[in-house]
Structure formats: C-alpha cells, structure tokens
Assembly symmetry: C2
Homo-oligomer: 429 residues x 2
C-alpha cells in the first residue's frame, strides 16, 4: 500500500486525526480541495469570533458611562489582519502535519474503491480512508447571489441595512455583531422563536437583548423571494418588503458528500449524512467518517473528538464515542452555553449575583445546573459573559461523575464569572 | 446568650459565613465599622477589575488593525457608575443577610471577653465570635499623603504621570491599567523582578508586555523619600528623582488586629496574624478568625472558603481547611493565573497554539500543567486572555484527583481559551 491512511478533507477534525496517526509513525496522505484546516478556521468560527470580539468591545465602550468614544472601522484593513491571523493558524496546522511527515496534495479526492483514492489524475492505495469533507450552507433555489457565512465574514464594509434569513446560531451571532457595529439588522425566522436549537430560557435572554438593541426580529415568517438590483429586495409572507444592502442566508448546513466517489462504494447513509458506528467507522470497515459529514451536531469540537476516535481505532485501540457531555456555545449577548443534559432537578441564579459580570457592565443572564437525585452533575446552561470558558469545568465534572458539592467546595478565584458555577452548585443549605 | 454568633467585620468571607449560619436558623449579629461586604468589594478587587476591563477594551481597540478610535474618559462619570455597580453588590449582600434575620450594627466591634462583644456602648453575649477584620495597606513612616488602593480606585482623573511603589500584584495591575488609559507609568520594586509572588515564566510574560507598552520598570531600587508640593517628587536610591502627579504605594498589606480588644483575650498570634488551626479556630475555642486577618494568602476567595469552614464548624460539622489547590490570579496583560503546586513533571504550549486567543489579537503567553508521575493533575500556570476563568476546571481536577487524560478527553467548546487546557493535557502521544 502507498499509505496507511488517506484523509479526504483537511478540516479541523481531520488534520488532528492525521497528527495523531503521524505521531504513531503512520504514513498519511492528506487531500484538500480548498484551504487547510477547514471551514471553521478559514470561513467560520474563527473569523466570526474575531468579528464578534471587536463588536463586543465597541459596544461595551459605547455604553460605558464616562467613556466618550468615536470610531471608524476600515473593514478592508481589518480583513487583512483577520486573514493574516487565520493564515497563522492554518499554516501552523499544515506545517505541523508536514513536519510529522504527511504528504499533502491539493485537489479533489475521489474514492475509487475501498483501498484506492484518486486526486489530480493520480491514484493511491491505502489501508484506511478518513472522510472529513465537512458541510456547506443550504441554498434555496431561486434565491441567488446572497451572502453565506463565507461572504459575510469576508465583507469589506459594514452594511447599512442587513437582512438575515434564518435565526439559528450563525444568523443570530451575525445579527448581534453587525448591530453592534452599526448596521440596521432584520432577522427573519420561520419558527416562533430564534435559536430553536437551545433551551427556552437561553434563547429568551438573547432575544431580549437583541430587541433592546433594536434588532428587528420577524418570527413565524417565510421569505418568498430575494431580488437583487442595486439593493436587495426581500419579500416576506404577511410582511412588507424589506430593502437591504446585504442579505445573509443562514438556514442550515448540509453534509458535503458529492464528488467523493461514494457511488463506487456501497456506503450506508443516514439521511444525507454518511452513517457511522460508535467507532466513527462507516459501513465499509476500513473507511471512517468524521465531523459534519458524519452527522449532527455540526461543531468543530465534535469533529476534533471524532478525529481522535477514528485515529485511535485505526491505531488498533478500541475507543468509542461518548457524546454525553457535548458543549454548545452561541457567541451572542449574553454569551450562551450548554453542556450535558437536562434533568428534573435544577438550580438557577441570576448573573446579577455574579460580581465579575457586574464589573463588565453585564447584568443579564443566569447560571443553571441540572443534577441527578444523588447530586451528580448532569448538565448546565449559562447565559453570562465568556460563558464558553466555563463549559470545560462542567463537562469535566459530568464525564468524571462528580457532584455539585465537588464544584461548590472547589475554590474558584474571585472575581470571576466561573464563581457563578460554584454558587449555583450550592444546593444543600 | 443574645446571639449564637457575632461577626466582627462584614467582609466577603464574613458575610458568607453569616449567611450559612442564618440559613441554619442561627441568631447572628454582624458588626461592621465601614462598608458592608468589605475591602475587596468596595475598594479592591471589584473596582480594580472594572477599571482593568475598561483599559483592556480601549487598548484592544486602539491596537486592532482597521479600527480608528478616539476617546475621552470622564473619570467622574465613570466613578458614579462604578459606585452604583458596587452599591448593587454591597446592598445585595446586606439585604440577603437582613432577609435571613441578621442584626446588623455599624460601629467598631470590641471583644470584651470570649463571650461578650461591645459596639457603640452596648455589649452583647454570644456563643461564638468570628473575626473577619481584613487587612490594610502597609504605610511607610515619613512617606505621607500618597495613594493606596482605596484612593487610586476612587481617582477622578487619569494621572499624566503615575509612580507606583511596589511591583506586587496590586501595583502591576494598576500599572497595566493606567498605562493603557494613557498615563506615563513608573514601577519601583526593591526586588530583582516584578510579581515576586508568582512563577518566573508567568512574571516574565507580564514584564515583557509592560516593557513593550513603555512602562518604566525600575528594579532593585529603594524609594528614599516622597515629597509632595504641587506634584510629587520621588527620590530613589541610585536613580534620578521622578516627579509625578500621583504616587501609589502598594508594598504589601497587614492584618487589622487593632482596636479589636485582643488585649482582653489570650489569643495566640502568628506574626501579625491571628493564629488559627485547620478549623479556622483561634487559640480560644469559641472564637474563629477568617480571611486576611488569619493569614496569607490575602485573597477574597480564600476568605470565602475560610468563612465556609468556620460556619460549618460552628454548626457542629467537623470540616477542615484544605488549601492544596488555591488559585491565584493577576489581572494583567496577559492575565496570569496559577493553581495547585509545581511538580517535576510539566507540559507547556504557547498561546499561539490557541486559536481563540488569536481571535482576540493576543499572541503572548502559555498554558502549563504540572502532574504527578501517574498523570494526576497537580497544578497549572496560565498566561492567556481570561485565564482566571480556567482555574475552576484545573482546581476541580486537582481536588477530585483527576488525571490529565481526563481533561484531554473532555470535549471543550471550540473556539475557547479553555481548549489550551485540553491541548496542554495531551502528554501521551
């Protein structure tokens, strides 16, 4: 065989699985048709977090008593910085793989049979194949020439008027960021609430804040058409038309399974996803699939974890996936995070009881924990500044079977947002 | 007896011990001579974090490519906001105690004998006494009329030129904040490095950043005199005099044991501190001492913990202190945090390997873990944005006897700073 493993798609999970195999002296070919390190690094979570960080700082200073601020954002300059920041991450990942001996080919990898993959008219034999081709935005026929995640994050000026179709986490993160950067923002959602993927109290905290920022949230509404002339004209069922400078379409993502040669294999699918077992193995036993293409939730950290599981199994270690504590974050205002699962027993305290949040001029949100009858931690939902940074602690507690008392008796530094986890864990007094 | 317990000093640890006793139906008198909720809330960590947060946002936007910002800080306006923010915390604490039935008297509490405390010419009998009188800044004879933590945090304009005597954590936090707010800052430290209380690589990360910001750090130097006319003139051994608009003295803190009636008891001291055993009990068996007055480290979260221990013991539960994982944070740039203890086995990765830090335009710092030979987590030192929020996870892992592999296999949301803890815990590949 030419290779021990061929990775199709150098996404964040994929390249980490390659690193693991390479460190164990496996011969690995990585095939990537676009940019190394995948959608999240190049076009998704990394640039969006950079944009959100900037918008949050601006909003914080604009609303802080005693500060008189004026600012201009030169998005072209900012994009240069953003691109160089991302290049640093991307090149770091690529150079790490190279330094460990990976062969990297840019092109479209196509599975010929279970032991052969072709790219750029060459065919290579391999013991294992890992598919990590990711996902793409859902596009709606007849609605063309709109913005998706890639385009909105590469934008070179702040739109005066922005219409966002779809109130899921991508849409709502962008709504928050662009509103804080000065855009007039409309969110159109078919369901009766924004962020339908999270618990009601978390989504409500964000809904309340967005409305106080004068974001226009249009629920229970369907977009009928989007026409582009000099500006966009968005027609909505039972609503006046809206003209806009930019229309962002964020109505979900679909797995990338085309052009992959799946027709040459008898690979089982699960809906549009490639079906995998709890070893991340597909129905063809030497082929693994990880990340977005292998099923929801479509999250980079789920892809990392999948990549680790696939690599371990290729290395001969019988490791299985356990998604029981999978954190989920929406980088909004307040930042909302969830991990684990809901149970009948919960405790909740307001952000107003957390001094560190108050020092950041943040007064909205809460800390909530779910627990089993015996006090074992089951899950948590937090709407608070930088709540994403608290998910490691709770997720670790769930994985290790620890109790709320373990968290309560752990000394948390003062003042931190993390003290909220300690305080909400005090259920026995 | 008039009371089950009398608390002298409603510091952050003290009032929490009162809350615990009150929730168990104990009759509690709280005596406070200044403001409820203590030094940290009113004059220390809370206002300083608010100031630091503002200075960090300003600096981040000033140095972010693509942002053109001008700003003015009206410190009088900001102080009003700060005071109202603190009042919210303070009133919340006081109202909680009142709602649980505490009697609160403002005045100087004095111990008459082991079962009697007087205040404002009244004397009350009690079963237990908790001393939580805190600490005050060290003042040097002959150097008068300078600023200490209270004065610098109540300042109503940004000084043009600020001299800070003492390069410990208070001095260095203020040096960073005021430099970012535009002051010309000098730090004078007697030792050969700043932040002598933390590990060398942590203090070096801060030293490097401060120097790149053009903070003037004068090491191995002793202040000979500080004279005040229109401006201050600071004379330093082997150094030119420095004139300054404000001089901040931050050369340590001493426990508040005066005016407390200690002369009426045969209470054992440990240096200047009140000596306590591992139940936070003093040498007089119904008198407890907690927080700064009972020994180093002088940290609010150590006081909370002490307060919990004292209350539990008064409630008849034999709970002992265990400081094995005591987090410590300095809110500088980078923010540095430490918990647990150093061992011979460690792993370290740079902040450059943490994508979330890069999205915040932060490239300096590192993640370091210490572990036992068998992989059990022993400690961590982190120099990274918001590193304080990561200490809960590591401290919990230490307390629960978890291993680095437990942390590595826990799914951390992407992108977060907390992923650095996961990545640095990968020691087995």
């Amino acid at each position: 065989m030419d290779y021990d493993a061929i990775l199709i798609g150098a996404g964040a999970g994929g390249y980490l699985s390659a690193v693991r195999l390479l460190k164990h002296k496996k011969k690995v070919l990585i095939i990537e048709k676009d940019k190394f390190a995948g959608e999240c690094t190049n076009y998704g979570c990394i640039p969006s977090k950079a944009l959100i960080e900037m918008s949050e700082s601006i909003h914080y200073l604009e609303t802080m008593p005693g500060i008189n601020m004026s600012y201009k954002v030169d998005m072209k300059e900012w994009q240069k910085w953003k691109d160089s920041m991302i290049a640093r991450i991307r090149n770091g990942a690529e150079n790490l793989c190279k330094s460990l001996g990976a062969k990297i080919i840019y092109g479209t990898g196509k599975i010929v049979d279970k032991n052969h993959v072709s790219v750029n008219n060459e065919t290579f034999s391999t013991d294992y194949i890992i598919i990590d081709t990711g996902s793409s935005p859902v596009k709606i026929k007849g609605i063309d020439d709109v913005y998706y995640n890639r385009e909105i994050l590469a934008i070179d000026n702040i739109p005066e008027k922005l219409v966002i179709i779809g109130g899921g986490y991508i849409g709502i993160e962008m709504a928050t960021a662009f509103k804080k950067l000065g855009s007039d923002v409309y969110v159109i959602e078919m369901k009766d609430k924004i962020l339908p993927e999270v618990e009601e109290d978390l989504s409500k905290a964000v809904d309340k804040k967005l409305r106080s920022l004068n974001v226009n949230i249009i629920l229970n509404s369907k977009v009928l058409s989007v026409k582009k002339d000099k500006k966009y004209k968005v027609s909505i069922e039972n609503h006046d038309d809206i003209t806009a400078d930019v229309v962002l379409m964020s109505v979900g993502r679909i797995p990338n399974t085309e052009d992959l040669g799946l027709e040459n294999l008898n690979l089982a699918l699960d809906g549009r996803f490639i079906k995998t077992d709890n070893h991340k193995r597909t129905s063809v036993d030497n082929i693994f699939a990880i990340g977005d293409v292998s099923g929801a939730p479509m999250l980079a950290h789920k892809a990392f974890y999948d990549g680790y599981i696939a690599a371990e199994n290729i290395l001969g270690n019988d490791v299985v996936v356990d998604y029981k504590a999978m954190p989920f974050v929406v980088y909004t205002d307040p930042e909302i995070s969830f991990t684990g699962r809901a149970t009948e027993n919960s405790n909740k305290i307001p952000v107003l009881a957390n001094p560190r949040s108050l020092t950041m001029n943040q007064t909205d949100g809460f800390f909530k924990v779910y627990y089993e009858k015996d006090g074992t931690v089951a899950g948590a939902g937090v709407a608070a500044p930088k709540s994403s940074e608290l998910m490691g602690e709770i997720t670790l507690a769930i994985e290790a079977g620890l109790s709320l008392e373990d968290i309560f008796l752990t000394i948390h530094p003062h003042p931190t947002v993390s003290e909220g986890l300690k305080d909400v864990s005090d259920i026995n007094d």
